[in-house]
């Protein structure tokens, strides 16, 4: 046994683990319409969603993600300061040796998308991205994360 998995010995076999996502607004802007819509869509699609609200610092987001042990971190940011805050967030995760997948949604100019991806952001969602697409990508990331879980 190389590591401890989360499998159960229930007679019905392993119950499907509900994917758990943190939805957070990074930075100082209060535009939470998108974050809330996405949070609700994920909930309706069967996710456990932890919503931490507006004005979060990268430190607060990382701490909440660890304490809640989420499968994906979904960041929403519309203040234009995404490069600054997200690079700090990714740095914190890296320093802790945590590879929780991170997605970023909001008003992101195209040239910034490759920069975010280089930092390790897995998906970038621009305004107008269908909720269905967001939900599916989040689900895939959560499954990937759960598959790789060891303790």
């Amino acid at each position: 046994m190389s590591g401890l998995s989360l499998q159960s010995y229930e007679p019905r076999g392993r119950p499907p683990k509900t994917p758990k996502v943190l939805v957070a607004k990074l930075g100082l802007d209060g535009h939470d319409r998108g974050a809330k819509v996405v949070a609700r869509a994920l909930r309706d699609a069967g996710f456990d969603v932890v919503y931490t609200g507006i004005r979060q610092t990268p430190e607060q987001v990382v701490e909440a993600a660890l304490q809640e042990d989420v499968d994906v971190i979904g960041i929403s940011i519309l203040s234009g300061a995404h490069i600054h805050h997200v690079s700090r967030l990714m740095e914190l995760l890296r320093d802790l040796g945590e590879d929780i997948p991170v997605t970023v949604g909001g008003t992101i100019p195209l040239p910034d998308i490759p920069r975010l991806k280089e930092m390790g952001v897995r998906e970038v969602f621009l305004p107008g991205t269908p909720l269905q697409v967001i939900v599916e990508k989040m689900r895939r990331l959560a499954e990937e994360r759960q598959g790789a879980r060891k303790i």
């Binding site: 989360l6 229930e10 996710f47 303790i151």
Partner: protein, 333 residues
């Protein structure tokens, strides 16, 4: 075979002990992951639980419930701040109601406490009432053991206070806070009697509102008239707070402390710990049997209906039908 119970717990125990030690030492990442293991009963979870119980039992579990909108989360946040000022470490389980319409859940109570997120002496975990095998209460009780073992001096369990799951969790807390607010008289009446009766400390939050005095009188009356019963001879306390302005919080912490001392003196503190462990066992066994009975009844629907029509002793026949199958399944575990 990964994840299956191998019977060999030697290596596992050692590893888990190491992880527990690191969680006690302040790794919140590991604490978070260990709590996830406890979400679902499994052999590993069982071993973990045993190891946790060796270390837990000494810390104070405070249940917080009350009417919606009374400001439970803000109050919990202020209480955390007060405990931190007193040099205590605080663990929080925030239990959110989930949408009855869907499979998933949306947990936002944490939002009010987020300012403590980066404080190394505070650990906050949200729990939804869906998707946990064996139910929310079972997972919550196991997590209480964990937070206790990780060395959090105060463990705050915040719930909505309606429904069986909440009551299950609440009545094993050492101290129960029931939070209400001015002008909520009707709501108090409407609250499930089960919850209103279990308070050790009643909190009138938002007491800066003009109607506060009237509600306070009402609550005093309710307490004196004995509409709320005193557990083990403790006279419930009544505290006025304003969580937004932060007033009345030290007094609240003092009242909670008085109750803890009362429990210790009466030898009830350790008894509550035992009670919650027995409750955990009961909830686990019951959920397992419940689920099985559910399945069996589903499979044997036609036979049951037939039995009800034809058997000379239908109750007896149902037992034969269902219990026989249940016995077999339990043996297969």
């Amino acid at each position: 075979m990964q994840g299956r119970y191998s019977g060999d717990t030697g290596g596992l125990e050692e590893r888990l002990l190491n992880l527990i030690e690191r969680a006690r030492g302040g790794s919140r990442a590991l604490a978070g992951k260990l709590l996830s293991v406890l979400e679902t009963p499994s052999p590993e979870a069982g071993v973990l639980l045993r190891l946790l119980i060796e270390k837990s039992g000494g810390n104070h579990v405070v249940g917080v419930t009350g009417i919606p909108g009374a400001g439970k989360s803000t109050l919990a946040s202020q209480l955390i701040a007060e405990y931190r000022r007193r040099g205590l470490r605080v663990g929080v389980l925030a239990i959110d109601p989930s949408s009855p319409l869907s499979e998933g859940s949306l947990m936002a109570d944490r939002l009010r406490m987020q300012r403590h997120a980066t404080d190394p002496g505070v650990f906050i975990r949200s729990l939804a009432s869906k998707g946990l095998l064996g139910g929310l209460s079972l997972a919550a009780l196991a997590m209480v053991e964990a937070l206790d073992a990780f060395g959090y001096d105060k463990i705050i369990v915040e719930t909505v206070g309606v429904g069986q799951a909440d009551v299950d969790i609440l009545d094993v807390a050492h101290t129960i806070l029931v939070v209400t607010m001015p002008g909520a008289g009707d709501d108090i009446q409407a609250l499930k009697a089960g919850v209103m009766e279990i308070g050790d400390v009643y909190v009138l939050n938002k007491s800066d509102k003009p109607e506060a005095e009237q509600t306070l009188e009402f609550m005093k009356f309710a307490l004196e008239a004995g509409t709320v019963s005193a557990r083990h001879g403790w006279t419930p306390r009544l505290v006025k707070t304003s969580a937004v302005q932060g007033t009345g919080i030290p007094e609240l912490a003092d009242a909670i402390e008085e109750h803890r001392v009362f429990l210790e003196e009466k030898g009830l503190f350790a008894q509550r710990v035992e009670d919650r462990r027995v409750k955990l066992a009961r909830l686990y066994a019951r959920s397992l049997v419940d689920d099985m009975v559910e399945e069996i009844v589903g499979e044997k629907r036609a036979e049951i209906l037939d039995t009800l029509r034809k058997s000379p002793d239908p109750y007896r026949s149902i037992l034969d039908l269902v219990l026989e199958e249940l016995r077999m399944r339990l043996q297969r575990l």
